[in-house]
Amino acid sequence: MDNTTKQLHIIYGDGGIGVGGDDFHYIFNYTRGGIESMVINGREWMYREPKPTFWRATTDNDRGNGFSKQAVQWYGANMFASADKVDIKINDQLIDFPSAPRNNQYSNHEYADQVAIIYHYATLTTPSTDVEVSYTVTADGVMSVHVHYTGNDQLPDLPVFGMRFVLPTAATGYEYAGLSGETYPDRMAGGIPGEYRIDGLPVTNYMVPQDCGVHMKTDWLTITRNATKVSSDHSDTPFSIKFEKDGQPFAFSCLPYTAGELENATHQEELPLPRRTVVSILGAVRGVGGIDSWGRDVEAQYHIPAGKDIDFGFKIRKV
């Protein structure tokens, strides 16, 4: 039977669940903690599964005031985050987890209007706290991502909180609607609202590589690539994906490196050759501070207190 009503086609696999439509197909891995594949118009957008991100590469001020030492648990939590439980909702109804052999009840003709996959992470901190990431896919292929951090006041302030997507190849550039330049919560008054296009994936040229490239108050972000890793694909036709706000604006950075890669370099030239695109969609950003670089804390209103819940969402759609 044809999918004439444009419902989502669902594949209840053994290792994950596939969700597809006319021009998209997504696979959510059960053991790897997130979306393993996100194909839109025949092109893959995922290099590795997106994960919650808790760490920013130490800034000079973070080093000077000891913040990285205080927050060091989040470094490990960021590096090794893994989900220990997955839930699935079909048309907003939680179903019994379709593990084998329970999934033998299904066929290759399973359809729904909406599918949600919810990953539960327990942070690798002491004590641990919960992070829940849900991906809700509708028949038009739009993926709504909702992220919830459960506060625990026994934990140190967070360096950052968001979702980190690693895309298979380096973007040729990105466009966004938000503030000009690199902005942080305590350094955004000079940012001018507008629509901006950035060529390539610039890393701010700080003498020692460090967290950079954050853009606050963003309504949407479109990332454009022109290459895939498919061996037979020699095309350089640009193709794009769009992240857009779902309610509140979000913050983001779009860089060729993870926080860990930036953290390890003492000079720009030590950073690897850019090969991928690391998109961090951020629900909470810590200020950078500036009173001095040898002890003064970031002003309190620009901290991310660990004891408070953080809740944010955004949508991903084809362009």
């Binding site: 001020n61 350094r187 003498m207 950079c212 950078v288 620009y302």
Partner: protein, 629 residues
């Protein structure tokens, strides 16, 4: 006089045979020369010089300055250039600690023990490299039969000078000009100028600035011919009436006159060239303008940097021009009012400032005219209205550019001795110099005089600054007293007195702090403050920083006695090199040259990257500095 290597060890010997410090006026033979900004009284000696390097004083060539010394096997070096950039000595960046930290145990002469001169501390030091320069030159034909001096605009850190084998003198104070009279020893044909530069001397204790530690001839070298009647020093004192409407101009000069019968034509014009005053007077001891009253003058400030033109032409008795001295001056009044608010022209002064080291990633503190002009454009574009010349006098063109562009200047002395009193973050002044050590007083007062005499006519300068992070004692008090004795038209600034409050009624017109938090500033200003407050350094823009600036800007509306501050700082200090792995041009910082001990990336605090591109934080500066502009 015979030179003595032991002068390197002696804080009481810092200038020998030098001509007195004087104003930075130029003099020309014609108006054409003025218009072309080229004086035929000046012969540049920049370019290739002969050079020999010695790793320490013991290994230097002892007779290299002799008239008959065979220097054919000397190398060549570019002048101006830091010797380190010519690959003879090594790059080294360190902040507070002295560059010999962990390698040589040193204490400043007389600091711990009044009877201990620390003999041989630098003159016999294994870490004191030497640059020996020889420049052979022919005097320009129009210099014949005139008095001729040589002028070094900047040499780090101690220099001995000879001409044709005759010793001329010795200079320290690396960042102000040193001039020596060549006249007695000039000869027809080839002349030989020999300069011996030491990286260390007692000056090193006073020049512990947080920067790459360089040495050598790093600014221009010029031969300067002197007309038969010549303005050696020009002092322009424009003052304003109490209602700020009318100006009074006083001008005086110091002259060298070899030929009588000269006449001076003095004129004053407004910015449109309209002549407001003209006078002719015989040239004797001084050319003067006394209490010239100018009604309804234009005031000088950041928005309208209105400059008047003073021109003094000296003619010989036959009416031939000997020299023309043009100088632009402005009327502005800086004062602290009865409410302890810093006022400029009757309005509260708000400093939207930056600290600026001279820096070019290709040449260190050898900065080009283009660098300076680019920096001024960056200031104007981003609402920066003030600069502190941290922590030494800059190239003199910089002050002229500030005059023209209305950039308020805190003109700082070449002084920073934080390594003598800041130990692992603690205030520990046991061997502080200059402190109150009598043997160090004359040297630092001389630095104040050099700074003042050179720059006294600049409209843009509204503060003199005694130096940076040198603690406080009788010697710095003497610097303050010097400025107060010569200049009633500007304020004197010094931050270091907050570390030693015993001197706070004697040093600094303002309460100046660095890196005080907004709450600490409120605390000072809420508790019967003695002085207006400013931040000589704040918003430490190291790497990804400059967050929270709003809390400082908010103080401006709340506290009239808060005068704003100078962001630390303008440009990252890093050096461009070719990466040894990729061959790409990359920026390197302290520790990257095996230089130890080091403070590594701590010199990367600029609003600009070292390659003179703006950091992302600049838009924030532009925004907040536009709020009270």
């Amino acid at each position: 006089m015979e030179p003595d290597i032991k002068w390197l060890d002696d804080p009481e010997t810092f200038r020998v045979g030098m001509m007195p410090a004087h104003s930075d006026h130029q003099f020309y033979r014609s108006t054409d020369e003025i218009n072309n900004d080229h004086s035929s009284y000046v012969q540049s000696l920049n370019g290739q010089w002969q050079f020999a390097f010695a790793k320490d004083p013991m290994h230097r060539i002892k007779n290299f300055y002799a008239a008959d010394f065979d220097s054919d096997n000397f190398d060549e070096i570019q002048v101006p250039q830091h010797i380190e950039f010519a690959d003879y000595d090594d790059f080294h960046y360190i902040n507070t600690m002295y560059p010999w930290e962990g390698k040589i145990y040193r204490r400043p002469a007389y600091a711990l023990d009044q009877s201990d001169p620390e003999a041989g501390q630098f003159s016999e030091a294994p870490d004191n490299p030497v640059g020996q320069y020889i420049k052979k030159f022919q005097l320009a034909s129009n210099f014949k039969d005139q008095k001729v001096r040589v002028r070094f605009d900047g040499v780090e850190k101690a220099m001995y000078v000879w001409l044709n084998g005759h010793f001329l003198g010795y200079a320290e104070d690396s960042f102000t000009p040193s001039e020596f009279d060549l006249t007695p020893y000039l000869q027809d044909g080839e002349n030989r100028l020999a300069v011996e530069v030491f990286k260390l001397s007692t000056a090193a204790w006073l020049e512990d600035q947080d920067m790459f530690r360089f040495f050598g001839i790093f600014r221009d070298v010029s031969l300067i011919a002197q007309p038969e009647a010549h303005i050696e020093d020009l002092s322009i004192k424009p003052t304003l009436s109490d209602d700020l409407k009318d100006g009074t101009l006083n001008v005086t000069t110091k002259m060298t006159v070899n030929k009588s019968g000269a006449t001076a034509k003095v004129s004053v014009a407004d910015a449109d060239g309209k002549e407001l005053y003209a006078d002719s007077q015989p040239v004797n001891d001084a050319i003067t303008v006394k209490d010239l009253s100018l009604k309804h003058v234009h005031l000088y400030d950041n928005h309208q940097p209105y400059l008047y033109q003073l021109t003094i032409e000296i003619d010989d008795k036959d009416g031939n021009i000997l020299e023309i001295v043009p100088y632009k001056f402005g009327f502005r009044k800086i004062e602290i009012n009865q409410d302890k608010v810093i006022m400029l022209n009757g309005k509260r002064l708000v400093i939207n400032g930056v600290n600026r080291h001279e820096w070019d990633c290709h040449s260190g503190r050898v900065v080009s005219v283009d660098d300076m002009k680019a920096d001024i454009r960056t200031f104007k574009k981003n609402n920066i209205n003030a600069v502190r010349t941290c922590h030494y006098p800059d190239h003199t063109l910089w002050y002229h550019l500030c005059d023209i562009n209305g950039i308020y200047v805190m003109a700082e002395n070449n002084l920073e001795s934080h390594g003598t009193w800041q130990k692992l973050g603690a205030v520990e002044p046991s061997y502080n110099v200059p402190g109150s050590v009598p043997q160090w007083k004359a040297a630092v007062v001389d630095r104040a005089r050099n700074n003042y005499e050179l720059l006294k006519n600049h409209a843009s300068i509204i503060f003199w600054s005694l130096g940076n992070e040198s603690y406080a004692g009788d010697d710095i008090q003497a610097m303050e007293e010097f400025y107060k004795s010569v200049d009633s038209t500007r304020l004197v600034h010094y931050e270091g007195v907050v570390q030693n409050r015993k001197y706070e009624d004697k040093i600094s017109d303002v309460e100046s702090r660095m890196y005080a938090s907004p709450d600490e500033i409120k605390d000072y200003l809420d508790h019967d403050p003695k002085k207006p407050f400013l931040l000589c350094e704040y918003m430490h823009d190291m790497g990804n920083s400059l967050g929270g600036m709003k809390s400082y800007i908010d103080l401006i509306d709340r506290y009239p006695m808060y005068a704003g501050g100078f962001i630390w700082d303008f440009i990252d200090q890093a050096i461009e090199v070719n990466d040894e792995v990729t061959g790409q041009k990359v920026l390197r910082y302290g520790g990257d040259f095996d230089d130890r001990m080091s403070d590594y990336e701590f010199s990367g605090d600029g609003l600009m990257f070292a390659d003179r591109t703006e950091k992302p934080a600049m838009q924030e500066v532009k925004y907040y500095y536009g709020q009270h502009n």
